[in-house]
């Protein structure tokens, strides 16, 4: 590509626009958040972050996101597998609908799920005789996070399954491996990096999710109050320092997750290149 740098014009212009826009919209505002948090003393910061209410919110946000991500890992893997390997009526439609949580605004998803799972809703009314309440409980938070996280797993795993060469399976099968052994020992290791990446992406998205959760959660302090909602509440009470402290903790954890995904992808790319 060294030649094209000399041939194609526009390097200075596009570099300038990209860096300036990135700086103005993303980097300076995020730096302002970090700068604001340094105006708190360490005791203040620690006191806010470890207060009972904040810890409960973090626990719920990360706990519900982890449960939802694991559910999506299993469901997403099965859906990706069926879409790639089987031909069944409605396959194209299912494939298109998977992206719905990306396309549907979070507030719309929130009110739709709440209406479905409320005690008088279509699904809630069926569950109530069984003693299961979904809306306005932690289970409701998990349900909303399952909804928004599903496409991350499916769309990460699907292309990897499509790429696995048929020779791998044929070789294993002709050497006498049973189908279960082939799936667990040949296919699963190949798809594992994608499964972990997709699950981590779903988890990261779920931790910060706001719109689809606040309607179904009921927002009871200390019980169904997620961390992003706590930021909003603190902000509405003009507790800027508290809001900032919670936000910084969430930001650091999200970036750590993003970094982990990047390293994982680089590692699996290198492994793939070595094996071929």
């Amino acid at each position: 590509m060294a030649a094209s740098r000399r041939i194609l014009p526009g390097f200075g212009l596009t570099l300038g626009v990209t860096v300036a826009w990135l700086g103005l919209i993303v980097l300076i505002p995020l730096a302002a958040l970090v700068a604001k948090s340094t105006s708190l003393s360490w005791e203040q910061f620690w006191g806010t972050v470890t207060s009972e209410r904040t810890l409960a919110a973090f626990g719920l946000s990360f706990g519900a996101a982890a449960v939802a991500a694991l559910v999506n890992l299993v469901a997403g893997a099965v859906i990706a597998w069926a879409l790639v390997r089987y031909r069944f009526p409605g396959r194209r439609l299912v494939d298109a609908v998977i992206d719905l949580p990306f396309a549907l605004p979070t507030a719309v998803a929130g009110i739709a799920l709440t209406t479905l799972y409320a005690p008088n809703g279509w699904i809630g009314a069926l569950l109530e005789p069984l003693g299961i309440q979904v809306a306005f409980t932690r289970l409701g938070v998990v349900m909303a996070l399952i909804f928004i996280g599903l496409p991350f797993v499916v769309r990460t795993v699907q292309p990897v399954l499509e790429e696995i060469p048929a020779e791998f399976e044929e070789a294993a099968a002709s050497l006498g491996a049973s189908r279960l052994t082939v799936v667990l020992r040949v296919l699963l290791p190949e798809a594992l990096p994608a499964l972990i990446t997709g699950t981590t992406l779903a988890f990261a998205r779920a931790v910060g999710e706001y719109g689809s959760v606040i309607f179904i959660a009921g927002n009871i302090q200390g019980q169904t109050e997620i961390a992003p909602l706590l930021i909003v509440i603190q902000l509405e009470q003009y507790n800027y320092a508290e809001a900032t402290a919670i936000a910084v903790v969430m930001l650091v954890l999200s970036f750590a997750l993003l970094l982990a995904v990047n390293l994982l992808q680089r590692w699996s790319n290198r492994r793939f290149r070595e094996s071929t």
């Binding site: 590509m1 596009t14 099968a173």
Partner: protein, 298 residues
């Protein structure tokens, strides 16, 4: 095939069991919420829809929310499209130190909670923020609880969309045609408009539509900077929340169904773009005696 067929797939009951699971899961978790939106919107007939646009207070508020959402999304998408095209050109046409870092930084807004995206602008431009007092003293227009804040928060949240869609497409198209145009004497702008753009237009269109859908539907970030002033800074998603909390479910779902239609249209365009790509690949494959150059890998 050397191995028996039965060993290369699962028993029939496993296959049909998995397919049934997929159809059930997708129906229950994805399709049913969508059905619930339209059912809620039409439960009281067309009257609710018409009420959104009549002269009553509610109708005026809904119309204002729609107009505001369209203007905020319009500005944000235009800005991010310009940025996305610049970033894609930079990151696919040149190799330079820091390129990988830029690629990662562009994705950063995906990892930030929308609430935090709103918060950072309150901290910058709110009255107690870094620039708030200075801006008030110099009588600059208000940012927070006003249109500029809504636009800024939306731009932040939709920042990566156009660039993300465009980068793989421009990488795959390669630079041969652009270099040929350059050698033949074309200038930078004419290369972009007459060579690059026709090659990548479908990727660009899909990126813009994805960006618009997300911008119209953004809730968390906009909610933090809006101040919820009815008839002034209430975008359509915020208006849905207010109606819902006031137990005006039918009106709330009517507004929600408008945004759902935008979402469905996005999915439709995605299918269309994928179909066109398959068509192009098939056409390229059929011209066997003149194979296209293989896509260039980074």
């Amino acid at each position: 095939m050397s191995a028996p067929r039965s060993k290369l797939t699962e028993p029939a009951w496993v296959r049909w069991g998995l397919v049934a699971f997929v159809l059930g899961w997708v129906g229950l978790f994805l399709v049913l919420p969508l059905v619930a939106v339209f059912h809620g919107a039409f439960a009281k007939g067309w009257q609710v829809y018409l009420g959104l646009f009549d002269g009553s207070d509610n109708g005026r508020a809904a119309r204002h929310a729609i107009t505001l959402s369209l203007s905020v999304a319009g500005i944000a998408v235009a800005l991010n499209t310009l940025f996305g095209v610049c970033a894609a050109w930079l990151l696919t046409r040149y190799r330079f130190a820091g390129r990988q870092l830029l690629l990662t930084l562009i994705d950063l807004p995906f990892a930030v909670s929308p609430v935090i995206a709103g918060l950072v602008f309150v901290l910058l431009f709110g009255l107690q923020g870094f620039c708030g007092e200075w801006m008030r003293d110099h009588e600059l227009p208000k940012v927070i609880f006003a249109l500029p804040g809504l636009v800024l928060a939306t731009v932040f949240v939709t920042f990566p969309f156009v660039a993300r869609e465009l980068i793989p497409v421009m990488e795959a198209v390669g630079t041969e045609e652009e270099e040929a145009a350059r050698v033949l004497g074309a200038g930078g702008w004419s290369i972009f408009w007459r060579v690059t753009l026709p090659n990548v237009k479908w990727g660009l269109i899909y990126g813009v539509i994805l960006c618009s859908a997300r911008a119209l539907g953004e809730f968390g970030a906009v909610s933090v900077v809006s101040g919820h002033i009815r008839g002034q800074t209430n975008t359509l998603p915020l208006h849905i929340e207010i109606l819902y909390n006031e137990y005006q479910f039918a009106a709330s779902f009517a507004c929600a169904s408008l945004l759902s239609l935008v979402g469905l249209a996005t999915l439709g365009v995605k299918e269309l773009v994928a179909w066109r790509q398959r068509l192009a690949v098939a056409r390229a494959a059929s011209q066997a005696d003149d194979p296209p150059p293989p896509p260039r890998q980074a």
